[in-house]
């Protein structure tokens, strides 16, 4: 496959970036998108050009690092995948592929396609945890009976890998799907209910402080989420937040 790549290049956080065009030839349809990026970087290094910086780690759809906005969609033109799970067979010979970093005020660009998603870490630190008694007499979590439906929903919410595709996709750069998944995975379980009030208040407050946009229920986040996190979680977080606010 011969491809034309239009890639966002930005030397650092303060530099003014721009799209650069690169020609790729003999790209195998069996390559993953990141392997194609590796080949591009090898070619750039051979030409003495600074390689394209992009995040990646596990390359098997677990870590959520590969934050690329490909042809106008987070993680490219496929569903329920991260960029590393996208294969070049999804494109046609002669295609032009536009590659940009995830865009949001709360996700500033570090370099090229890498963005700083530590705002997610700060939201998580604000309440995305359960305080555990470490006295040595900790009760076995399995000793508490939990409704199967609640357990399943909590597990579904907990599959969120915090990749930021929801923010990147949302026309408002809202982080509601991510935060609601983190709130839900605890709110549904008895262990999480103890700190539920503080958790949802603190996490939503931190989300607002980070400068994410407001949710307008377009549903784009759910469609582009590599783990299929449901909008049901946002409704749950809205309920939790309202209840916590009224409770004080």
């Amino acid at each position: 496959m011969n491809l034309t790549l239009k890639v966002w290049r930005q030397a650092n956080a303060d530099a003014k970036g721009k799209m650069e065009t690169y020609q790729m030839s003999e790209v195998s349809p069996d390559m993953s998108f990141l392997e194609m990026m590796d080949v591009l970087n090898e070619e750039l290094i051979e030409k003495g050009i600074d390689p394209v910086a992009f995040d990646h780690d596990c390359r098997e759809g677990i870590c959520g690092m590969c934050s690329m906005f490909i042809n106008g969609e987070a993680h490219g033109p496929d569903r329920l995948i991260t960029t590393c799970q996208l294969h070049m067979r999804k494109f046609k010979d002669g295609d032009t592929i536009t590659i940009e970093p995830f865009r949001a005020k709360a996700f500033p660009v570090i370099k090229d396609l890498t963005v700083d998603r530590s705002s997610f870490d700060r939201i998580q630190q604000a309440g995305g945890f359960v305080s555990v008694n470490t006295s040595g007499n900790t009760q076995d979590a399995n000793a508490i009976p939990i409704d199967k439906h609640d357990a399943d929903k909590a597990f579904d919410a907990a599959t969120c890998i915090g990749c930021g595709a929801c923010v990147a996709t949302c026309k408002n750069a809202s982080a509601m799907l991510f935060v609601s998944a983190k709130v839900s995975q605890y709110a549904l379980l008895p262990q999480g209910k103890v700190e539920a009030t503080d958790r949802v208040l603190n996490m939503v407050n931190q989300m607002d402080e980070e400068g994410f946009g407001n949710c307008t229920n377009t549903g784009a986040c759910e469609v582009e989420c590599p783990k299929g996190i449901s909008l049901e979680n946002i409704a749950r977080m809205n309920r939790e937040y309202l209840y916590a606010s009224l409770k004080g």
């Binding site: 106008g72 969609e73 407001n214 377009t218 309202l242």
Partner: protein, 219 residues
Amino acid sequence: MTLIASSIGRKLTMALSGLFLVIFLTQHFAINITSVFSPSLFNEISHFMGNNPLVQFIFQPILILGVLFHFTMGFVLELQNWKSRAVKYKSYKGGANAPWVSRNMILSGAVILSFLALHFYDFWVPEMNYKYVEVLPLDSERYFEELIHKFESPVRVGIYLLSFIFLALHLYHGFASSFQTVGVNNKYSQTIKSITIAFSIVIPIGFVFIALFHHLTAF
């Protein structure tokens, strides 16, 4: 952070004010449709609504405040959302994962707001002038005549028709979306969606029918 200052709190106020306006719209349609089959009943109800102190001095100000709040908050949130992505994408396929109506509520809202300005100029301003500026004598028979007079102009009817298309689009997303915002996403969500689709079609078409009916029967 207080509830109203939070992003979820503000969305909640948008949802609640929107649902309030949906109730008003239903009531408005129920009254207007009487003009099609019974001018006397339309006059009677309009006279009651126009002269009842509870409606005039309690409900009407609440309604105006509700409208002002809904569109002011809508613009405030849109501005915040705009700032949340300072650098825009070169390529953005919004249609790949969300319907046009849900992504363009500010546009459909702005068209409805422009229509409201015309609607106030057409009906509310003359009504206020009649009752509180010129203080003309009570006339319980004037409402139907005033109504059909407004729909003589094909341009005005055309503007009404266009506006109600945007109202339909706004309702199509907004109605069901309000329930998601207040935390309802469960086994009733499909029913809510079905009611939303029916409401967003029936009410705007009903208003367009009323305008066209009076336009065509005026000659």
